[in-house]
Subunit: 345 residues, 3 copies
């Protein structure tokens, strides 16, 4: 049996104004098309208004000014924020059961908080620290001297290399590798000689990092991911990067070494930055952009090489007309030749 709540209880949990029967019982949350009378659904964007009108949902989370819907309505200021509360109501996060699994290998000099959890076959090396209520999932590796703050979640099989510093409420998904060596070599005429990567990696509070992503330690100094940034799966962040606050890096983004990314910038899927590039605060790079040069704050860029999006869109539009343009120019050449052939006045 899953959770169930009355519309009245849900309205209370969401801070919503209920228009409908407060005693009606809801069994779950579902998208507009999939919802039945036992489900609460949600209208987070006007483009789904038509789907909302025909949804069989028993209740709908909607904004304050939506009209003409037949379902019981839960009116809120921000349906998207309310959706988060709604999902957490029906799907509460299981509490962390403190304790160290018998098969975990925790060094004697490591300090694991009494309220923390360490899963099966996890390995925690000497002098590492795990904060209060933090979870180190099964098969994770936490290197020597690494520090995890409070309420951190390492999903199974995360690697935190030696000395990496992780703040509070950081979530890292399975398979991510934090603090591997940066990619630095000097070619001495005979071979690529490795430049020792002796710097660190600091992940600030409230960062989330996706599955199988890799964030390298610095050559010297620190690679840094600042507060609140969210990183998707299979993303690469190179050595000595400084990723600002509340930055979004979508899946398969590649950030070369020594880049700086300003607060609230967004890099869409498969974007690549050359090394030492600076992306300004709030800038947006559309999917697959290849970015050889700095991007000004607040601008939207796209393309390979990336340019302001309007310019890139004009190029894309013009490209499709290129074959026609070639025909026109050939025709013009012929006509001009003919004109030139006319006897002069």
């Amino acid at each position: 049996m899953g959770a169930q709540f009355t519309l009245g209880r849900i309205a209370e949990a969401l801070g919503a104004t209920l228009e409908g029967d407060p005693t009606r019982v809801m069994l779950g949350v579902a998208p507009l098309e999939a919802a039945g009378p036992e489900h609460v659904s949600f209208l987070v964007h006007p483009r789904y208004a038509r789907a909302a009108a025909t949804s069989a949902a028993g209740g709908l989370v909607v904004g304050r000014d939506v009209e003409g819907l037949p379902q019981a309505l839960l009116r809120v200021d921000s349906p998207q924020t309310a959706l988060i509360a709604l999902l957490r109501l029906f799907h509460p996060e299981p509490p962390v059961a403190p304790g160290i699994h018998a098969t975990a290998v925790v060094a004697g000099s490591a300090r694991v908080h009494a309220t923390a959890f360490v899963g099966a076959c996890a390995v925690i090396e000497p002098t590492a620290r795990v904060g209060a209520r933090s979870m180190v999932g099964a098969l994770c590796f936490v290197g020597a001297g690494a520090v995890l703050g409070d309420d951190v979640v390492l999903h199974p099989r995360v690697v935190v290399m030696e000395g990496v510093a992780i703040g509070d409420r950081v979530v890292v998904h399975a398979g991510a590798v934090l603090g591997a060596d940066g990619f630095g070599y000097a070619f001495d005429g005979t071979a690529h000689r490795k430049i020792p990567q002796v710097g660190g990696l600091r992940i600030e509070d409230d960062v989330e990092i996706g599955a199988n992503s890799t964030i390298d330690r610095a050559t010297l100094g620190e690679t840094r991911i600042r507060r609140g940034s969210k990183i998707d799966n299979l993303v690469q962040v190179g050595h000595n990067c400084d990723v600002g606050e509340d930055v979004i890096l979508v899946s398969q983004v590649g950030v070369s070494g020594s880049c700086t990314i300003g607060n609230r910038a967004v890099l869409a899927g498969q974007v690549g930055l050359a090394d030492h590039v600076a992306v300004g605060a709030g800038a947006v790079l559309l999917a697959k952009s290849g970015v050889p040069n700095d991007v000004p704050a607040g601008e939207i860029w796209a393309g390979i090489p990336s340019r302001p999006v309007g310019k890139t869109r004009r190029i894309w539009a013009a490209e499709t007309l290129l074959p026609e343009l070639f025909r026109k120019v050939r025709s013009l050449e012929k006509r001009v030749r003919e004109l030139e052939g006319r006897p002069r006045a």
Copy 2:
């Protein structure tokens, strides 16, 4: 000592018509150039006909109508399908040795079939199920309530998060992460608030998933990979995607959230789909395509942004002539100016 078979035995195993000495002994399989008299080789495409003619192979798997080859021939309807049987003959898959390794950590409430194998340091969480003859490799993690069908192979160090449903004969290569959270946040003006990812992930029968690929669970409902699809290494499939039957996703493809991909579509290497894109059945996206919009069934598209391949190829051809086109237009402008300067008749 490896396996060895007579040409007669091989013909029998392949359902081939033998033209040659059935008692001749073959010691292995090799490509045309590398094969010696002790090897069986194969001609799977006419473009290799010349290499076949000069190959030192002792026997050749060929189609019914190939002519003029000096080697012993094993004639079959489909050389490529026969190649599979030939390789399996010389390299049989080792049988699964049932049993749970002493170092595996299997929850008491998990159900592992008596014929299944669980490797060293694998972790299987409460209420998970592992079907008949399935293999959970060393260092794998199978989350609470996850279900693996029969004859599944999880190579070492695969992560299956809680509740993920996997069908029969699914193969997952090392390091893949199935069912991590989708990438969903709502910006509330201050910070990116995580939208709980409470949906599931369903992998149907006969799917194969490559090393270090990541397939996210749904926000609500299910992400689904349908029967027979094959996914290469380092591929990302976002939350709520519906990947059809017999789809091919080549290495480093990125599929954003809520995409649908029709049956037998092929996405070549490093293709990226924007979210909510629908790719029609049988469509082909050439390598590195960036796909912002839907792709019709059966069409071949390419480019960034992706367009029908003929159109994209014409653009690529035209691009190389652009500098010349600029010169021509400059020349035309001069000539027209001169014509305009002529005294009127």
Copy 3:
């Protein structure tokens, strides 16, 4: 307390000519801007000359002919090579402490050299071999019959599949998967049938492989990474590739099956090669290149599709002028029409 050295001792270690007080004590290494009087810094490129002039560093590693700097100078022939020695002086690699962790699972028929290290929960399968002074990190998997040479470092959670051969002094970062199946199927009209991947993977001496990269075994024969090549994070190398000596593959590069890459070639970030492509020795492919055809030795190529960099740069320059070109041609058409309308002489 970290290491500390006098300038005299540092000069000796670097083979440098010291211009300054040999008794002055240095506490660490820092970049020009971050360095204080207690740090040695370095000038590896003339573009940092200005930063060097104002650096607070107590000492500077510089080339033989640099002039006009106020700091104590450590003059060397190659500052970049000296930087490596400098970093290793202050950050020596910890020696390998031989031994097999009590929780490691090493098959009885595996041979681990007495001077090697095997970490916690590492799994080493039957008949695998680990050479002298090699490290198999925690949670690694080394498959049956795999061979690791001497002085190999497998960072935590590396997977080496069965039969993979690894030379001496190879370094593999966390999460890499070496020797998973290549991606090969034959469509038989009904389903994609897997072509058994029964070949091998050979990694030669002095190769380094980044975190979460994947290198597939061959269908038949061997995938090969030759001596001294360096591979960054999240790189894919397909089955049957032959990657030459001292090759550089930057993060997120994708190399399709059966490619050959010549010695000292460089593939920048997110480059993709189609299958069977040959990249000549010393060729350079700039970031995000899409490479459908062979690239001649020694050339620099860029773009999608990739072309010689000069050609691609001219196309990129011309693209930005396309909207203007369309205007010009429209204007020309109008003017030519007017000229054509003039009465003939």
